[in-house]
Structure formats: structure tokens, C-alpha cells
């Protein structure tokens, strides 16, 4: 009877998923409530988890709780420790959730909410969650080895080295693009700038508090930090209202970019306990808290989507970034659908904490579904804005016109009515001087979130507070990624240089540490500077580059996963990883090719360089031409690196399937679990 009821229940969930998806896809002309998206997403996730992920867990991976995990076998009280599955889930989710699933869907909303929504949900169920799940499984069966180590051991030395270089390059582009998001959110905003500047002494204070005043009291220090950061939001309001203080915190994009570069260097070079550790604790708690708040807000307040399901910009002429839905929607939304970066987390700490093999299912697949839901919420927040407002905030002056009146006229001419007076009122409501040309996604997401939060109480009087709260939240954890990423990039560079000279590889050698920090900061700083001086706003060139890089890393991870599945089962289940791999290769190579060779200057780097060379020459023209050619070269390098690992992988797969190569796997032998007996 129970089985029968279960089948009825799952049939109802599957039918609801299909019906709501169909209703969203068919909806034209009338406003759609966000609950349709929430229900469609949740039901699809449930069906994906219950049927597809369970199938992969049982048949493909053959997860076996009788087999001891690395956490049990190698338990050391430090890295390897059997941990409750929900705690591992929370830990893993906190590690994979970054700014990407918030910013990407906001930018892709220029196509309308439909393409982004479908890609986020379907991409996560069939691609992103599968990637995270498979890599976590592979790493767990290999004593928690990293993606690079698995690539080297399962595919070959070429694959391993290529993976390492690709990760380092991706890190540089990632840091530049998220830096650009912060700069665009803070330029000309004394309120936002004061609040974010204040988080730095707050983090240092927390660091000293934890180190010397109350050692070990992390929650206490985090609570203190949170109170001070909230106070800094109110302080920012006072600063913005003060004619004396406001100019001290009003900066241009270039000045903020330089400040960020200096900050990045200091954060990488300072002792970790002073800045990185306390900021990491604070941003993790704030991030999780805001995600919960946004989820509760959307579910209880059910905002209406004001953006249409599809906009005219599906034709590739969008102002936020240029390019058609295919392939650009699929690289703009990386985190939230498929993110290669997750493979680094899935082969990092998480596999060392799993106490039972079957926990891989909930932790690997389930966490990615939750991240996908965060992306859906960000999309809802952006799509609940009036379309005219959304485009006024996200369009660069180079496209819509350099005065508010010209920008409003251009956007209204596209069929999305907005006036300069309306934007001016909204800017005053949120305590900003202007909301035009605030590209990068963070300000429009903050506006959307603030509009949702004020419906919960407080009305428009609290709009400015919630807007700046959202900006603080986004900037806080973007800066944490920036701090940590610079340091990680420095370690990776030191590892590489250590092969040449052991001294350069020593992290305790001060000149080496400072030199490699400077190299990493200079690398992402250059791209950040390039972004803020780009007449098209920077996001148009850097975000696609980042999306391509991140998806190519996913392709590398899926190459590793496919190799291991072929070694386990031959060709029988290779479709599990091969289907998302083929899709990602098609999407990223198409996007990469267009970004390099498209004859349309707004899309193709080389075409833009040629157009600049043929146009009126100014003092900056030579630099802009060089930057476009450099971006084309970086994009080309990404494609070459991934082609290398792909060809190497195909060579290995063909050898195994044709029987000319031994299917030697590095999986650790079966050891019976004593925890399973206890359980």
C-alpha cells in the first residue's frame, strides 16, 4: 500500500513539474508569479534527485555503505574525520555557494527570465549536479585526491599539467571579473564605499579579538563583526548625507579598482589570522543568512515577474552583454547550472569528511540542486524589477547614451519604458546619486532584493537600508573570494615555480611570497583595470571570458569523470558524464570562437580591435586595441588547453574501449567499514 501511495505521490510531483514548466514556457503577455518558477524548480529537483541521481548512485557508482570511506580509514582528527551527513552538506554548500549564482542569472535576465530559468534547472539536474556528484564520488574512492591529481593519474601527465594551468588562469579571470562587479557597485556611491571600507577594520578587529582577546570564540567574534557591519550600513547613510564626508568616500571606477588591487596584495601578504580568517567566518554566516532570507521572502511574498519571458535581445543585440541565447546564455550562467569550480571543492575537503558512501548522493548532488535554487531566486529578484529599470541599471553608457535622458530614451525606444525622473527618484530612494550605468549585476540584484524585502514590512522607508544591506552582502563575500583566491593563486604559482627553484616554492620565504603575491595581483589587476576602462563596461568582455573558463573547467572535470566511468563499466554508462560534456564542449567552443572571430565588434575581440584601429584615434585607443587582442589570446589559450585534455582523454577512452590499453584505475581497494557495523 505504501509503495502504491509512494508511486502516486511521485507521479503527482512529476506531473506538477511538467505542468508548471509547460505553463511557464507557454506564458506570453501576462505577468507570471514567481511561485510558478519556485514550484517548477523544486518539483524538477525532486524528480531528478529521486530517480536520476538515485539511478546513478545505485547502478553507475554502486555506492556501498559496507565500504570504509577515507574519513574512516585515514581518520587523523585533522583533515579526515567521519562527520554527520547534514553537517557535511552544510559545509559543502557553504563552500560552493559564491557570487556566481547571484550575478550570472541577473545578467542573463536580459534575454527574459525563461532561457535562464530553463538552463539553471535542467542544466543543474543533468549536468552541474552530476559533475559535482561524480567528482565527489571519484575523489572519495581515491582517498580524497584533488581534480589535478586524478587528471594526472587517470588520464596522464599532460592532462594533469593542463588542469593545473587552466585552474590558475581561470582564477585570474575570476578575480578580475568579481572585482569588476564590486567596483561597478561602489563607484560614485559614498554609502556603499564607506560600508565596504568599514568591513576591513571590522575584520581586523575580529582577527585580533580571536587571536588575543577571546581565543577560539569564533561565534562571539562573528556576532560582534555582524553587529559592527550592520552599524557601518547606518554609518554609510550618515556619511552619504554629509557634504563634508561624502566626497571622502566618492570614488571613480579607476580609483576603486586601484584600491582593490592594493587591498588584494595586502590580503595575500598579511598573516591569515588577521584578515582572511575572520572575514571568511563573517561572510560565510552572512551569506547563508541572506540566502535563507531571500528564500523565505520569495516563498512568502511571491513577487510578480515584470520582465517578459523572452526579450528582443535573444537576437544577440543585448546591452548587458552582446551575443545570442546560444551560446551566451549558457556561459553567462555557469554557477547555478554547471560550474567547473565545484569540482575543486568536491575533490577538496568534502570527500575527507564523508562517513558513509551513500552520503555522496545528498551532499554532491543535493548541494548543487540547492545552489541552483539560489540562482533561481536571484533570477526572480532581477526579473521582479520593471524591465526599463533593469536595463537602465545594467546598460553601459557606451551603448545607451552618456546622459540619463539619452539612456532613458534609448531604453524606452527598445519597448521598455523608463524615464530619467523615475530613475532619479529611485536613486534617491536607495540613497544613491544615480542608478544609471551600474553594470555588473550587483546593483540590479540589490534593487530586486530590496524591493522583495520591503514587501515584508517597513515600506519604501527601508528601501535604502535593504539596498545597501544587499550591496554589503554581495561585496563582503566577493571580497572574501578575492582575498582567498589571490592567496590560492599565489600558492599555485609558488608550487609551479618550486619545480624550477625549491626556494621560490617555499611559502615561508618572504621575497618569494611577496613576489608571487605581486604577480597574481598584477595579473588579475590588469584585467580589472581593463574592465573598468572598457567603453562597453567591461562585463561585456570579462564575464563571457570567465563563463567560458569556468565551463571549460567543468569539461575537464567531466573528462576525468568519463575516464573513470569507462574504466569501471566500459561504454555502458559513459553517457552519464558524456552528455553534459558534449553539451559544454559545444557551448564553450562556440562561445569562444565567437568571442575571438565574430565579425560583430560588440561580440568579437578581434573585430572590436579592428574597428578601434579604423576609427578615431585617442590616447586610449592603442591600449583598448591591445586589450581586445589580449582577451582574444586568453580565450584562444583556454580553448587550446581544453582541446589538449579532451584529445588526451579521447585517446585514453578509445584505447580502453578497443582493448589496446589497460583500464588501470587508482581506486583504493575495498576495506570493510566498521562504522557500518556500528550503524
Amino acid at each position: 500500500m505504501n509503495r502504491f501511495l509512494g508511486r502516486i505521490l511521485w507521479a503527482a510531483i512529476a506531473a506538477t513539474a511538467a505542468f508548471t514548466m509547460g505553463a511557464i514556457a507557454q506564458s506570453r503577455g501576462e505577468p507570471v508569479n514567481s511561485m510558478w518558477l519556485v514550484i517548477a524548480a523544486v518539483c524538477t529537483y525532486l524528480v531528478g534527485f529521486r530517480f536520476y541521481a538515485s539511478f546513478v548512485a545505485a547502478r553507475v557508482m554502486a555506492l556501498d555503505d559496507r565500504r570504509a570511506t577515507p574519513a574512516e580509514r585515514l581518520r587523523d582528527g585533522h583533515d579526515f574525520e567521519p562527520t554527520n551527513k547534514w553537517i557535511v552538506f552544510g559545509h559543502h554548500f557553504a563552500a560552493i555557494a559564491g557570487p556566481g549564482p547571484l550575478v550570472g542569472p541577473t545578467l542573463a535576465a536580459q534575454f527574459g527570465y525563461l532561457p535562464g530559468f530553463l538552463w539553471i534547472v535542467i542544466g543543474a539536474v543533468l549536468g552541474g549536479a552530476v559533475q559535482d556528484f561524480v567528482i565527489l564520488f571519484c575523489s572519495m574512492r581515491r582517498d580524497g585526491k584533488s581534480l589535478g591529481q586524478m587528471a594526472r593519474e587517470e588520464i596522464g601527465k599532460v592532462g594533469g599539467f593542463t588542469a593545473l594551468i587552466t585552474v590558475l588562469l581561470i582564477m585570474i579571470i575570476l578575480l578580475a571579473v568579481i572585482g569588476l562587479v564590486v567596483v561597478n557597485a561602489l563607484k560614485g556611491s559614498p554609502w556603499g564605499t564607506f560600508t565596504i571600507f568599514a568591513t576591513m577594520p571590522v575584520a581586523v578587529l575580529m582577527g585580533v579579538y580571536l587571536r588575543y582577546w577571546r581565543p577560539g570564540k569564533v561565534l562571539e567574534a562573528s556576532a560582534l563583526g555582524f553587529v559592527l557591519v550592520m552599524a557601518s550600513i547606518f554609518g554609510g547613510q550618515a556619511v552619504a548625507a554629509s557634504p563634508t564626508l561624502a566626497p571622502w568616500f566618492t570614488y571613480s571606477a579607476v580609483a576603486l579598482a586601484l584600491a582593490l588591487i592594493v587591498y588584494g596584495f595586502l590580503a595575500s601578504a598579511l598573516p591569515v589570522w588577521l584578515l582572511l580568517a575572520p572575514r571568511d567566518y563573517l561572510s560565510t554566516f552572512v551569506k547563508l543568512g541572506v540566502v535563507v532570507m531571500l528564500g523565505v521572502g520569495i516563498i512568502f511574498l511571491r513577487p510578480e515577474l515584470k520582465l517578459p519571458p523572452l526579450t528582443r535581445f535573444v537576437d544577440g543585440t543585448g546591452p548587458v552583454f552582446a551575443g545570442k541565447i546560444f551560446p551566451f546564455c549558457f556561459i553567462t550562467i555557469a554557477c547555478g547550472a554547471v560550474s567547473g569550480f565545484h569540482a575543486l571543492i568536491s575533490s577538496g575537503t568534502t570527500p575527507k569528511l564523508l562517513s558513509r558512501e551513500r552520503h555522496v548522493l545528498g551532499v554532491g548532488y543535493g548541494s548543487m540542486l540547492l545552489e541552483s535554487f539560489v540562482a533561481v531566486m536571484a533570477l526572480v529578484a532581477a526579473a521582479s524589477l520593471e524591465p526599463g529599470v533593469y536595463f537602465a541599471v545594467n546598460s553601459p553608457a557606451g551603448i545607451v547614451g552618456s546622459t540619463p535622458a539619452a539612456a532613458a530614451a534609448t531604453i524606452t525606444g527598445w519597448g521598455f519604458p523608463v524615464t530619467a525622473a523615475e530613475m532619479n527618484t529611485m536613486a534617491q530612494d536607495v540613497g544613491e546619486q544615480t542608478l544609471f550605468y551600474r553594470t555588473g549585476g550587483a546593483p540590479s540584484l540589490a534593487l530586486g532584493m530590496a524591493h522583495i524585502f520591503i514587501q515584508g514590512g517597513g515600506g519604501r522607508a527601508l528601501l535604502a537600508f535593504w539596498y545597501h544591506f544587499a550591496i554589503m552582502f554581495e561585496a563582503l563575500f566577493i571580497l572574501t573570494v578575492l582575498d582567498a583566491g589571490t592567496r590560492v593563486g599565489r600558492f599555485m604559482l609558488q608550487d609551479l615555480l618550486g619545480q624550477i627553484s625549491p626556494r621560490l616554492g617555499k611559502t615561508s620565504w618572504m621575497p618569494g611570497m611577496l613576489g608571487t603575491s605581486a604577480v597574481i595581483v598584477a595579473a588579475w589587476g590588469y584585467f580589472l583595470y581593463q574592465g573598468v576602462t572598457d567603453p562597453l563596461g567591461g562585463i561585456n568582455s570579462l564575464w563571457p571570458l570567465f563563463g567560458i573558463a569556468n565551463q571549460l573547467l567543468a569539461a575537464i572535470a567531466l573528462c576525468v569523470g568519463t575516464t573513470i566511468l569507462i574504466k569501471m563499466h566500459g561504454a555502458k554508462y559513459l553517457w552519464v558524464t558524456c552528455v553534459p560534456l558534449v553539451w559544454l564542449v559545444i557551448v564553450t567552443f562556440a562561445a569562444g570562437w565567437q568571442k575571438i572571430f565574430s565579425p560583430i565588434p560588440a561580440i568579437g575581440f578581434l573585430a572590436q580591435a579592428d574597428a578601434l584601429a579604423a576609427g578615431r584615434q585617442t590616447a586610449d585607443t592603442a591600449a583598448l586595441i591591445f586589450n581586445n587582442r589580449l582577451d582574444a589570446a586568453v580565450c584562444g589559450l583556454f580553448l587550446i588547453l581544453v582541446s589538449t585534455i579532451l584529445i588526451d582523454s579521447i585517446r585514453v577512452w578509445a584505447g580502453i574501449l578497443m582493448g589496446t590499453r589497460e583500464a588501470r584505475t587508482t581506486e583504493t581497494p575495498f576495506v570493510p567499514s566498521r562504522l557500518a557495523e556500528e550503524l
Partner: protein, 59 residues
């Protein structure tokens, strides 16, 4: 219902303890057979973050 709520509180506090490194510190103390002290915390912090700072944060 009460049991479910208690379980929820346990899980949330467990996640918070993991994210705030309280669990890791407890394991460190147990592994080294020492009691909490300011010096021990600083030693833990240095060792723990030396490894943690090498791990990338996701985008």
C-alpha cells in the same frame, strides 16, 4: 514534532560549529591530547588555516 525540532536545532548548531571551526578545534585538542588554552588555539589556527587558505573559494 518536538523531536523533529530538536533534531533541526542539532543539525543547524552542528553546521554552525563546523563552519566556525569549533568541531575542527575540538578534534585538534583530542588528537593532541591537550586542553584548550590561548596558545593552543593560536597553534591550531596557524596549522588549520595554513591548509584552509590553500583551498579556493567557489565563484
Amino acid at each position: 514534532m518536538k523531536a523533529l525540532f530538536r533534531r533541526l536545532v542539532e543539525v543547524v548548531s552542528g553546521v554552525v560549529a563546523e563552519l566556525s571551526d569549533q568541531n575542527a578545534y575540538r578534534r585538534h585538542l583530542a588528537a593532541h591530547g591537550v586542553a584548550h588554552s590561548p596558545d593552543e588555539w593560536r597553534r591550531f589556527q596557524d596549522e588549520h588555516w595554513q591548509a584552509k587558505a590553500r583551498r579556493g573559494r567557489c565563484c
